[in-house]
C-alpha cells in the first residue's frame, strides 16, 4: 500500500514538472483529502508522459506500458496488484536492463489504441504477432508460443468437436487470435461467431447458455478451468502464433532492443521458464472463500475505485455546474449569437452517446492534436461537458418556468435585466432547479462507471478486475452495485435535506 502511494506521488511530481494544470492541482488536493487510500488509484489515473523521443541509452528512464485488464495468466489482479506472466516478464526485463515501467491496465482494444496515439510507449498483452499488426507496430522476439483452444460448459456433453457446432453460436475475444481462428472455420462447420471484450464475460456467456462454446488462447483457458470457471476443454489446442511485446512503428527502438536483450538473458539463465511454470504448471489454488471472504478481499480495491468515482463525479459536477449556469443564461439571452452557441453545445453533447464522447476525448483527441491526455482529465472532460449540456437545459428550464409577470414587475420598477434576474427570477428558479440538479448529480455519479472502458480505475473497473481474475461475476457485481446504491442513497438524502433547509 505505502509503495503504491509513493508511486502515486512520484507520478504527480513528474506531472508538475511537465504540464501543471488545474486537474493536477485538484488531484493533489483530493489526494490530501482522501489520504493514502486514493494514492494508488490515482497512480493508475495519472500515468502519462510516455517517452517517444529516441534515446541511445534508456537506463533510468520510465516507460508507460499498456496491458489488458485481465488476460489471466498473462495479466490479472491478485489482491489488487497486477500480476501474471506478462507482468513478471516485463518487470524482470526492466530490472535487468535498468529502466522502470509503469503499467496501465486498459483492456486489449484500448491498449492498442493508446499505443497508436502514443499515450503509452509499449503494449504487452498476450498479443499475437500477425502480419496485419506488423503494419502498425514493431514487435519484439516472440516470448510465448500460444494457440487457440475451444471450451464448453462443464455439463455440456453434446459438443465434443467442431462438427457439433452446426447452427450454434460461439464466442471469441474481439480482435484476438481466437476470433480469427473461429472465423476461419465457421463456414466449414456452420456456426456463428460472436465477439466479446474479455475472457470472464465470454466464460459467463457460455455458462449462461448464450453461446455454446468459447474459442480462447489455450493458456488463458487452462488457467480459467483450473480456477473452476465452470468450463471444460474438449478439443486439442490449435497450433497458433506467438506473443510479442509491441511498440509503435518506428518508435522506441531502444526499448524494443532492450526487451529482446533482457528476454534472451532470462531464457538463458532459466528465469523465463520459472515464470511460466509459476502460472501454467502450478496455478494458484482457486479462491473458495465464501461471500464474506470475497467481500473482505475485494474491499480495499473497491474503496480505491470508489474514491476515484467520487473524485471524478465531484470535479465533473463542479465544472458542469459552471458550464450549465453560463450556457443556461446564454440560452435565455436576448442575443441570438449566445443562444446559438448554447444550442449547438447542448445539441452536440446531448445528441451523442457518452461512451463515444469518452473514446473521442481519450483516444481521438490525442490523435488529432498530438497532445496526450491522462485518463482522469479525459474522463472529467467527458463527464463535465456531457453533464454541462443537461445542466444548461435545467438552468434554462428553471429560468423559463418563472412566470414572465415576475420579470415584467421587476423591469417596470426600473430594475435592470441583471438585477431582475438576480433578485427576482433566480431565487425562484433555483428552487425549481434543485431537484433536477440532484438528479443530474446522481446520473453523473453513475455515468462514471462508463469510464471503465478507457481504463479509468473507478469502482466498476475495480469490480471487473476482481471478477475477471476469480470468475465470481455475480457476487462481485452485487457488491459493486450495493456500494453505488449506498453512496447514491446517502448523497440523495443529504441533498434533499439541504434542499428542504435552504429552499423553504
Amino acid at each position: 500500500m505505502s509503495a503504491a502511494s509513493e508511486n502515486g506521488f512520484t507520478v504527480l511530481r513528474n506531472k508538475f514538472r511537465s504540464r501543471p494544470g488545474i486537474l493536477t492541482i485538484a488531484l493533489t488536493a483530493a489526494l490530501a483529502l482522501l489520504g493514502g487510500s486514493a494514492g494508488a488509484g490515482a497512480a493508475a489515473a495519472s500515468e502519462t508522459s510516455a517517452s517517444v523521443a529516441p534515446h541511445t541509452d534508456i537506463t533510468g528512464e520510465t516507460f508507460v506500458i499498456a496491458t489488458d485488464t485481465t488476460f489471466a495468466p498473462f495479466e490479472y489482479r491478485k489482491d489488487g496488484e497486477l500480476t501474471g506472466i506478462d507482468m513478471d516478464l516485463i518487470r524482470a526485463v526492466a530490472e535487468r536492463e535498468g529502466f522502470t515501467v509503469e503499467i496501465k491496465s486498459l483492456g486489449f482494444d484500448a491498449a492498442l489504441q493508446a499505443l497508436q496515439s502514443n499515450q503509452v510507449a509499449g503494449v504487452i498483452a498476450g498479443m499475437s504477432i500477425t502480419d496485419e499488426r506488423k503494419q502498425i507496430f514493431d514487435f519484439s522476439d516472440p516470448y510465448f508460443d500460444s494457440g487457440v483452444q475451444m471450451a464448453v460448459a462443464e455439463g455440456n456433453n453434446a459438443v465434443t468437436g467442431y462438427t457439433d457446432l452446426r447452427g450454434e453460436t460461439v464466442v471469441a475475444k474481439r480482435g484476438s487470435e481466437g476470433e480469427t481462428f473461429a472465423n476461419s472455420i465457421k463456414d466449414e462447420y456452420g456456426f456463428t461467431v460472436k465477439a466479446l471484450a474479455d475472457s470472464a464475460t465470454m466464460y459467463d456467456d457460455v455458462k449462461a447458455g448464450n453461446s455454446v462454446a468459447v474459442f480462447d488462447d489455450y493458456p488463458v483457458l487452462a488457467y480459467g478451468i483450473n480456477q473452476n470457471n465452470g468450463l471444460k476443454s474438449v478439443t486439442d489446442k490449435e497450433q497458433g502464433s506467438s506473443y510479442g511485446f509491441a511498440v509503435n512503428k518506428g518508435q522506441n527502438a531502444e526499448l524494443l532492443a532492450a526487451f529482446n536483450t533482457g528476454l534472451a538473458e532470462l531464457k538463458a539463465d532459466g528465469e523465463y521458464q520459472a515464470i511460466l511454470d509459476t502460472y501454467l504448471l502450478d496455478p494458484a489454488a482457486a479462491s473458495d472463500t465464501g461471500f464474506f471472504g470475497l467481500l473482505a478481499n475485494s474491499m480495499p480495491a473497491l474503496m480505491k475505485g470508489l474514491g476515484l468515482t467520487l473524485l471524478a463525479t465531484g470535479l465533473s459536477i463542479l465544472i458542469a455546474l459552471v458550464l450549465g449556469i453560463v450556457l443556461g443564461f446564454f440560452k435565455v439571452s436576448p442575443f441570438i449569437v449566445l443562444r446559438a452557441i448554447a444550442t449547438t453545445y447542448v445539441s452536440i453533447f446531448r445528441g451523442t452517446p457518452l461512451l463515444v464522447q469518452a473514446f473521442f476525448f481519450y483516444f481521438g483527441l490525442p490523435q488529432l492534436t498530438g497532445q496526450s491526455i491522462d485518463v482522469l482529465t479525459a474522463g472529467v472532460l467527458t463527464l463535465s461537458l456531457n453533464a454541462g449540456a443537461y445542466m444548461t437545459e435545467i438552468v434554462r428550464g428553471g429560468i423559463q418556468s418563472v412566470d414572465s409577470g415576475q420579470t415584467e414587475a421587476g423591469r417596470s420598477l426600473g430594475l435592470g435585466y441583471v438585477t431582475t434576474m438576480r433578485r427576482v427570477v433566480l431565487p425562484q428558479a433555483v428552487k425549481i432547479m434543485t431537484p433536477s440538479f440532484i438528479n443530474q448529480f446522481v446520473m453523473t455519479l453513475k455515468d462514471t462507471s462508463l469510464l471503465a472502458v478507457i481504463g479509468f480505475a473507478e469502482l466498476t473497473y475495480q469490480g471487473q478486475q476482481i471478477y475477471a481474475a476469480n470468475f465470481r461475476t455475480g457476487e462481485t457485481l452485487l457488491i459493486v452495485a450495493a456500494l453505488y446504491f449506498v453512496v447514491i442513497t446517502l448523497l440523495t438524502t443529504l441533498s434533499n435535506k439541504l434542499d428542504k433547509r435552504f429552499n423553504k
Binding site: 415584467e408 414587475a409 420598477l413 426600473g414 435592470g416 425562484q428
Partner: protein
Amino acid sequence: MSNASKISVRALRKSFGSNEVLKGIDVEIAEGEVVCVIGPSGSGKSTFLRCLNKLDEITAGTVIVDGFDLTDKNVNLNTVRQHIGMVFQHFNLFPHMTVLQNIMLAPVELKKGTRQEARATAEKLLDRVGLADKAQARPAQLSGGQKQRVAIARSLAVNPDIMLFDEATSALDPEMVGEVLQVIRDLAKEGMTMVVVTHEMGFAREVADRVIFMAEGVIVEEGTPEELFGNPQQVRTQDFLSKVL
C-alpha cells in the same frame, strides 16, 4: 387639455408577428390627468398600456414620456420606468419575499437613499394602503385585494409621477374590488397622472377626466365621462356600452 403633455403617443403601431394589434394610436395625456381606457377584450387596451413603458416593443410610431422618446435607443429605459409605476391584473408580487421586502426591493437596488429610508417609506406606503400590519407577511398569505394594494404600494415606492393600471381589479373577487378602487381613487385625488385600463364602468365614470374607447386596435371615440357614457357618437361605442351598462 392641450397644455404640456406628460405622455405623447403618435401613430403607434404594434404587431405580434403578422397580427397587428395596434393600428395607429394618437393620444396626448396631460400632467395630472386621469385617463380610463375601455373596450372589448382583444381591442388592444393592455398592449397600448404596455407600450407606454415599453414592456412590449414598439413596432412603429413614437411614445414620448416626460420628454423621453421610448423608441430612441439612447434613452435609458430603466430611468424612464422609475417615473412610471405599473400595476398588473395578476399582481405579480415576488413570492419569495415578505410584503415589506417586495416594496423595499426597487428603492434599495436603485439606491434611492439608505435602507432605513426605504424601510420607512415602505411602512408609510403600507399604512397608506391600509396594510401596516402585513409588513412581515408573505404574498401567499394575503387575499387578492390585499395583494393588489401591496402591488400598488410597491410601484409607488420609487416615487413615480405616472401610474399605469392594467385591469387591476379583473382578477379580484367582487367584494375586494372596492378596497383597490379606493386606493386608486385616492391617488387620482392627489393629482397623479394615471392611465387606467378597466372594465369598471362606474369607476371610470367617477374618476376619469377622459375616457377612451378602443376597439380592434384603434381609438374609436374619446371624451369626458359625461360625453362618452351619456352621449356616445359612434355605433361601436353604443353597442359596447349597451352590453356592459
